[in-house]
């Protein structure tokens, strides 16, 4: 069992997380997402909106991390890898809002000379990013490597990774799944965003993946599920429950059911907003549903 006391590291709160505060952050993050993709008429709002609660929970309530003094090795910190890199808008917003860099920099997303590339990268030195992602299926292997390094360094912090459900159609994911279980990589908590959508339609139409829980269990993982990954309290409870399963010889998987486009009514429940930006009118309509809580960038 990993202990959670480390006074020098930031955590959203050391007491019970204030759900109302976190919901306010979620609303602001969603505003950031739609404004970012609108400004450059490109990017991926659907999955970003769907994973807003997960990122907010992780960076503001669950992980022990050090946004003000980012270092690549992350020794003594919990570290996170985004494997489905196309949902960079939510990653960038939460990194900025939790203090890795100035929120004003969100205005440079996908523009020339920006550190906020279309897909996340270490190449321009953006604090908070530890590997490039975008080409799918690679992040779990990297997370396993980082988890092994933590074990070699006697560092008992955890490694988190996030994957899309469409992403796990990539074969490398299953190479990684086998390795992590066989080698007892039990300081890793991976999450799959099960929104049931991918570019060409629903995952059940494009390539049905069957019983995900049974698959991951058969691969030797401890599997937890959330019914509603867009309820922040449930996400936090699941992540904290997942932490109690670490250190017990198995990697931990969270199957997190979310709704793509959550929080903006006309973007919800469809794959159509996977990689499309709203126009001016749609942006206004979206922002009307998302109160400004922390100040727009």
């Amino acid at each position: 069992m990993i202990t959670k006391e480390e006074p020098t590291l930031q955590k959203g709160t050391t007491k019970m997380p204030d759900i109302k505060e976190l919901e306010k952050i979620c609303s602001q993050v969603r505003r950031d997402i739609v404004r970012m993709v609108h400004a450059v008429n490109s990017g991926h709002p659907g999955g970003s909106l769907g994973c807003t609660e997960y990122f907010t929970a992780l960076y503001f309530a669950v992980m022990k991390h050090n946004p003000k003094a980012f270092n690549m090795d992350g020794k003594g910190e919990d570290i996170f890898f985004l494997s489905n890199g196309h949902i960079s808008p939510v990653f960038y917003s939460v990194l900025a809002r939790s203090g890795y860099f100035d929120v004003k920099e969100l205005a440079t997303f996908r523009k020339l000379d920006s550190r906020l590339q279309g897909h996340p990268t270490t190449h321009e030195g953006l604090p908070g990013v530890r590997v490039a992602s975008g080409s799918l299926g690679q992040g779990m292997s990297v997370a396993i490597g980082a988890a092994l390094a933590k074990k070699l360094n006697n560092d008992n912090r955890l490694v988190y990774s996030l994957h899309g459900d469409g992403e796990i159609q990539e074969g490398q994911i299953w190479e990684a799944a086998m390795y992590a279980a066989a080698n007892k990589v039990d300081n890793l908590i991976s999450t799959i965003d099960v929104n049931g959508q991918q570019i060409d339609g629903s995952t059940d139409k494009v390539l049905p993946m069957g019983d995900l829980k049974a698959k991951w269990q058969a691969f030797g993982w401890e599997v937890l599920s959330t019914k509603n990954g867009n309820t922040i309290s449930e996400v936090i409870e699941t992540l904290e429950a997942a932490a109690t399963y670490t250190g017990k010889g198995k990697p931990v998987m969270i199957l997190m059911r979310t709704e793509m486009g959550y929080g903006v009514d006309f973007m919800m429940g469809s794959h159509k907003w996977h990689g499309v930006a709203p126009n001016d009118e749609q942006l206004a309509k979206a922002l009307a549903q998302l109160p400004e809580t922390l100040g727009d960038y």
Partner: protein, 319 residues
């Protein structure tokens, strides 16, 4: 001609194994990963001495590259081991995104490169790996010529911060470079000073070039032999200085003509010192089953092929 005596033939992959083993003892951050080819890669000594720092990943090269990238986060220096084919073509996207673009300090160590893999045939004889790897921004590409040099290169790349592709082979070949050599990444090694033609060779072809040099000498041709163990970054200064003196060039490598050492040297000379140039390399073809010697002859990579190319380049110079 400068003599390069040797007392034994040894495989370059054993040089890698010996180097890794030495690194294991001297550098606690060095870790090894292998995809079910520990014996072939000669990583067994490292595995035995440092089981906690050795990761057997099974037949899953993509995962191996990703795990290696992750191990650097936390300060480890991963050395991955598998055949050259599975170290490059099979995992190009993983190397490109998780290692090269991400600037990770991973050493991709590749055995059984080229035709000299032999009887297993073309599925395993990669002849495109140098090209694939040298195209990646920031990737260092090294192809040492014998056991001693491969051992020295293995030790040297641990000190270089950033991704490296280290290529070596299967068969026993003359071990003719000094055991105590200092390996400098990106620094060509003069094997024989000459005045009529420059022969730039890499990997197993360095010895073939030395044999060719002896044959050329008997015909009164003075060949300069330069060992280009580092294809990227290329030692521009050494290439230009030599060609300024000789005025014509042969390149020699166990690789496709497209994308190999010859290609890099031709590019440099076309820009800075256009000169007659002939390439000893595989001409846009796959290999096949056979013994290493048979294959090197059939595909035109033997010392007589270097002699022939040298004469052709010389004749073009005199025109």
């Amino acid at each position: 001609m400068q003599q390069h005596p040797y007392t034994e033939k040894k495989d370059t992959r054993s040089g890698f194994g010996a180097g890794l083993s030495e690194l294991g003892r001297s550098n606690p951050d060095v870790v090894g990963l292998c995809a079910d080819l520990t014996g072939s890669l000669k990583m067994d000594a490292f595995q035995k001495e440092h089981p906690e720092r050795f990761f057997q990943v099974g037949i899953a090269e993509a995962n191996m590259m990703g795990i290696a990238a992750g191990l650097t986060i936390g300060g480890k220096i991963p050395f991955t081991g598998t055949f050259a084919n599975f170290s490059t073509g099979r995992v190009y996207d993983q190397i490109r995104q998780s290692i090269a673009y991400s600037g990770k300090n991973v050493k991709i160590c590749a055995s059984h490169a080229g035709l000299t893999l032999g009887e297993d045939g073309a599925t395993h004889q990669i002849l495109e790996d140098i090209g694939l790897m040298k195209m990646l921004p920031g990737m260092v590409v090294i192809n040492p010529c014998d056991f001693n040099q491969t051992k020295a290169a293995t030790i040297a790349v641990a000190k270089h911060k950033g991704p490296v592709y280290l290529r070596f082979g299967r068969p026993a070949v003359p071990n003719f470079t000094p055991a105590d050599q200092k390996f400098e990444i990106g620094k060509a090694v003069m094997m024989n000073e000459g005045k009529d033609i420059s022969i730039f060779a890499t990997g197993h072809l360095v010895w073939k070039a030395i044999e060719a040099c002896e044959a050329l000498e008997k015909e009164g041709i003075s060949a300069e032999i330069i060992n280009i163990h580092t294809i990227k970054p290329l030692d521009h200064q050494a290439v230009i200085a030599s060609v300024k003196k000789t005025g014509c060039v042969v390149t020699a490598e166990e690789h496709q003509e497209n994308g190999g050492l010859g290609d890099s040297i031709a590019q440099l000379l076309a820009r800075e010192l256009p000169s007659p140039l002939e390439m000893v390399a595989v001409k846009d073809s796959f290999g096949e089953s056979g013994t290493p010697d048979q294959l090197m002859k059939k595909y035109g990579l033997d010392s007589p092929d270097i002699v022939k190319a040298a004469k052709k380049a010389l004749s073009r110079k005199s025109k």
